[in-house]
């Protein structure tokens, strides 16, 4: 009897605890309130942004000293928040709201319950675009730790809700035998039918994925600087353009930037997936070529290149590091004949060095009209440079300009177009200059980017609490098909097949 009483008491205690933790949130708009002339303090800043009609609920956190309750009225939808100020918007109601308001503005009113009563802040709007964004966003999550790594992985987020799937994660605990890094995930033409990523250190190689199958290859040859680095799948062929880079990083002692990531040498490679062979596209000792990117029709390859007049020598590293801020990259393109698989002569596309600037990560819009790139003061690893901003060039008339509304005072880089060309997703360190986060901006038919918004999360505090950076956000139309278990098997249990080198 005594024992059964103990269990009953314990169960009841736990139940009471569980119930008490489910405190109620206001469910209706206050009937009496005072209008104030301030804007509500909200995070993330979703004021007056253009959003896709298929985006996940855009939860916010409202801050107001002394307020005990909040109500956020988004069109016909009412979301309440207790003293923590965080909304948890009903996803079904949110989807209906966006569907009903495609191409329209939704007014958002924020109410706070202060000791003197309810107040209503100045409203803002969410403009719902007609065009959806691709359904999935892939990224790497990694600490902005500079040399070491432990647990990291590639993940895929369903943009219409908060589901995040693991594509691949490395070893979760430190292990000399298994430690490896993964990077540079890349997809062919917004589809996950063909994709790849690199594995560095233990179990190294490049994992090539075709549908539900995968294998690991190694690019290694005396005439190749290093393994393949920045990839770009040809839009239709089983070909991948890689840069091959000898990369190092150095740490500032007293500078506005923290880190410089530098290439001592780099070339461009073409990898044939079916033949498992590789050859040089560009190989030069007086230029550093990197960041290849195919045009949507596959007829040209865009890339960045910096003049490097120093002859390769033992002291090249020291000379390159010493001149880190004078390395300026321009964007070139080179024609490609898919039938003969031959390249033509390079053409200068963006002459940033002429104005004392440097470019990186060229990406062509799906309609082939715009070249989106990052421009900074120098170098090519712009995600560590405050000066890095997104720029576009209209390929029709060579007009280049910054995407001012989408940019910030901090670094923006590693951008990706949506398959309909109306959205760009990119990494930005604008929240705190340290941790990169994914921002999404509408790109209108006039070639202007709108104010960017932070990738929505169920908990608005997620971005504050997350001690990892989002790397290389890539939009795709579909989810990755291959299972994590299969990729684990490929990485851990198979040897990389060495790609043959073609002269």
């Amino acid at each position: 009897m005594k024992r059964s009483s103990f269990f009953i008491t314990t169960t009841l205690f736990i139940a009471v605890l569980a119930m008490s933790s489910c405190s109620g949130r206001p469910k209706s708009v206050p009937t009496a309130f005072t209008d104030v002339t301030d804007s509500a303090m909200i995070f993330p800043d979703y004021r007056d942004v253009t959003i896709p009609p298929n985006i996940a609920p855009m939860n916010i956190k409202v801050s107001d000293d002394g307020a005990t309750e909040f109500v956020v009225e988004i069109g016909s939808l009412v979301a309440g928040a207790t003293a923590d100020g965080k909304t948890d918007i009903d996803s079904t109601a949110w989807r209906q709201l966006l569907e009903q308001n495609k191409g329209k503005d939704i007014a958002v009113h924020v109410y706070a319950h202060r000791p003197a009563g309810w107040v209503r802040f100045l409203p803002y709007t969410l403009h719902v675009a007609e065009e959806p964004i691709d359904g999935f966003l892939s990224y790497r999550l990694i600490e902005p730790g500079y040399e070491l790594y432990r647990q990291l992985g590639l993940y895929q987020r369903n943009l219409s809700n908060f589901d995040e799937a693991v594509i691949y994660e490395n070893n979760r605990s430190f292990s000399d035998k298994d430690n490896h890094c993964v990077n540079c995930h890349n997809f062919q033409n917004y589809s996950t039918d063909r994709m790849l990523f690199h594995v560095r250190a233990a179990h190294g190689g490049t994992v090539i994925i075709e549908g539900n199958e995968a294998h690991k290859i190694a690019i290694k040859h005396d005439s190749i600087i290093a393994a393949g680095v920045y990839p770009s799948w040809h839009p239709t062929q089983a070909l991948v353009a890689f840069s091959t880079n000898s990369t190092g990083q150095v740490f500032h002692m007293f500078h506005k930037e923290k880190i410089e990531v530098l290439d001592m040498a780099s070339d461009l490679l073409l990898y044939d997936v079916e033949k498992n062979s590789v050859r040089h596209i560009l190989r030069s000792s007086d230029a550093l070529e990197t960041f290849p990117c195919w045009a949507p029709d596959g007829s040209r390859l865009y890339y960045c290149s910096a003049r490097c007049n120093e002859a390769r020598a033992d002291s090249l590293i020291l000379r390159t590091v010493a001149k880190y801020d004078s390395l300026l990259y321009d964007i070139y393109s080179i024609p490609f004949d898919a039938a003969t698989r031959t390249f033509g002569e390079p053409r200068l596309e963006v002459d940033a060095s002429a104005s004392g600037h440097s470019t990186s990560v060229p990406r062509i819009s799906p309609d082939g009209k715009y070249l989106l790139y990052t421009q900074g003061d120098y170098g090519q690893f712009h995600i560590w440079h405050h000066s890095a901003d997104l720029w576009v060039k209209r390929l029709a008339n060579s007009d280049s300009y910054p995407l001012t509304a989408a940019n910030s005072a901090e670094a923006e880089s590693f951008h990706s177009w949506s398959s309909n060309g109306r959205w760009i997703a990119f990494a930005s360190r604008r929240l705190d200059a340290a941790y990169s986060r994914v921002f999404i901006a509408y790109f209108d038919r006039d070639g202007r980017a709108h104010k960017a918004f932070l990738l929505p999360q169920r908990d608005p505090d997620f971005n504050t609490m997350l001690l990892k950076s989002f790397n290389v956000p890539e939009l795709t139309k579909d989810a990755v098909k291959i299972s994590t278990e299969k990729l684990n098997h490929i990485v851990y249990d198979t040897e990389a097949e060495l790609a043959s080198y073609e002269e």
């Binding site: 600490e143 902005p144 730790g145 500079y146 040399e147 070491l148 790594y149 432990r150 647990q151 979760r172 605990s173 430190f174 000399d176 150095v250 740490f251 500032h252 002692m253 007293f254 500078h255 923290k258 410089e260 590091v321 929240l431 705190d432 200059a433 340290a434 941790y435 908990d459 505090d461 997620f462 504050t464 609490m465 997350l466 001690l467």
Partner: protein, 517 residues
């Protein structure tokens, strides 16, 4: 009927009380500072995003439970109380489960003793490049397993009339002898392990606790109290204390700087020199804020967030006037219990460069912040003061003094003399004067540049005369001479830090004593 002595009839009460008292003493006094610093190297919050790094690991939930218990070590007496209760409970449960006859009751003490011995053997690896919740997590698991076992036995016992036990039998003298002997072994072995294998662990962590309390005088006194111990982390934290007390030039060579090996292992379980133990604190204290941040982020990458790392990153973000980043780290610290005082102090500096500038610690450390940019990899070893070995421009006299002392410490005499030019015409401080006289034979011009060195030079001559014999076999006599010459730079120059000197001699400075550490 023979009367059973009270102490025998209440054997269990007395034995457990004795065990509890000893365990509390060991866990709070002997191990208190060590676990207090383990607590600083841990982090626990009720937030799935923040704890993901730990939760997803094998045994992650166990380590989280261990970290939860570790929270009590915010106050070592309380943490020690919890550990003592668990050790006592474990012993009782083992005794209950095994139903030992009186003569074998001492066996129930062995699991607790084994755990304590393991903790002692682990030393600084309780937290250094390893999971801080591990030892307490395993203790909790052990107690839980015993409790479940006891519960099953209890349930079984109530349904079985045949269950027989001996726990109520009175003890004998023999029982007491075996119990006390076991207690002596169980507590003596861990204490001896700590004392012999990790003699640096208690003074080092005590200094770190004093550092948390900003008791800089206390820190340097602790180091001097253990001056004959020679381990890099002790020297590093001693130097930090001297930076804060402004006595670097007076007291730097008051402790042995020969650097015996630590018994620590790295993430891979390989023996390690332990430089990562102090590198963040040292870089920070040397005004090398970017390098401190670099190393702090690296540590967070490898170990997940810890209170120590987050506090460093908060201060560094404030020094960088990066308010959003400081706010982020303060928010994360705010999710951990008991850090209100730190949050209150540093939250007040948000958005206020004036308050950052007015903070006494920040103001002190800013004095040695570099004035020119360079890349970290261009700076030289040793990691702490050595960064300033190559300092050719500073923002204060303190920066010059640190550079001079770094070169004296590293025995880079040409670089030391080069920087001494800035002191010409003034009376150099004692240690710097002692460094200068060691170079007079090679550079007679020093005497003209610093005519005040006459007395110091005479002392130096006397020193050379006194140690002429020992000079022929310096490694042999170094330790013996330390007590007589501690704090005297020429002693350090010839007899100090010889292991590192020999190693670097072969590499790059065959004709000098340069390149220590």
């Amino acid at each position: 009927m023979k009367q059973v002595p009270f102490i025998n009839s209440h054997y269990r009460t007395f034995a457990y009380a004795l065990l509890f008292a000893l365990a509390w003493t060991w866990a709070s006094w002997w191990m208190g500072d060590i676990y207090r610093i383990t607590y600083e190297n841990s982090y626990l919050a009720a937030d799935s995003t923040l704890m993901h790094f730990l939760w997803q690991q094998s045994f992650g939930s166990l380590w989280i439970a261990g970290r939860a218990l570790l929270l009590l070590y915010r106050w070592p007496l309380l943490g020690g109380l919890a550990v003592a209760l668990l050790l006592t409970a474990a012993t009782w449960l083992v005794g209950y489960c095994l139903r030992l006859r009186p003569r074998w009751r001492w066996l129930s003490l062995l699991p607790a003793g084994a755990w304590m011995a393991w903790v002692a053997w682990t030393g600084l690896n309780l937290y250094y490049e390893s999971e801080p919740g591990r030892t307490l997590g395993i203790l909790l698991l052990g107690v839980l397993v015993c409790a479940i076992d006891a519960f099953i036995i209890w349930t079984f016992k109530s349904r079985s009339a045949n269950h027989k036990h001996h726990s109520g039998a009175p003890a004998t003298v023999g029982t007491w002898v075996s119990t006390v002997a076991t207690l002596v072994v169980c507590f003596g072995v861990p204490v001896a392990i700590t004392h012999v294998r990790h003699p640096y662990a208690r003074p080092l962590t005590h200094m770190q606790v004093q550092m948390l309390n900003e008791d800089w005088e206390g820190m340097s006194q602790t180091a001097r109290d253990h001056a004959s111990l020679s381990y890099r982390p002790l020297a590093a934290y001693y130097a930090i204390a001297l930076v804060h007390t402004g006595r670097l030039a007076d007291d730097l060579f008051d402790i042995r700087l020969d650097f015996d090996s630590l018994h620590v292992v790295n993430y891979s379980g390989e023996p390690d020199v332990g430089s990562n133990y102090y590198i963040i604190d040292c870089n920070y204290a040397a005004g090398l804020f970017r390098s401190a941040e670099h190393k702090a982020v690296e540590r967070m990458t490898m170990e997940g967030p810890s209170l120590a790392t987050l506090k460093h990153l908060t201060r560094l973000a404030l020094l960088d006037h990066n308010w959003p980043l400081a706010r982020k780290y303060l928010s994360i610290l705010g999710r951990a219990p008991f850090e209100g005082a730190f949050i209150e102090r540093y939250s007040a500096m948000l958005d206020s460069p004036e308050r950052v500038a007015a903070d006494p610690e920040f103001a002190l450390l800013r004095q040695t912040e570099p004035v020119m940019d360079n890349f970290e990899s261009y700076f030289e070893q040793p990691v702490f003061l050595g960064y300033n070995c190559v300092l050719m421009a500073g923002r204060s006299a303190t920066a010059l003094q640190h550079s001079l002392l770094a070169n004296l410490y590293s025995k880079r005499m040409p670089a030391f003399l080069e920087r001494c030019q800035a002191l010409m015409g003034s009376t150099p401080q004692k240690t710097i004067a002692e460094g200068l006289v060691t170079q007079v034979k090679k550079n007679p011009a020093i005497v003209q540049a610093f005519p005040q060195l006459q007395m110091t030079a005479q002392m130096y001559t006397g020193f050379l005369r006194n140690v002429a014999t020992e000079m022929k076999d310096r490694p042999r006599y170094a330790r013996q001479l330390f007590d007589s010459y501690k704090g005297y730079y020429p002693y350090y120059y010839f007899f100090g830090n010889l292991k590192a000197t020999r190693k670097s001699d072969k590499k790059e400075h065959a004709s000098s004593n340069a390149g220590v550490n």
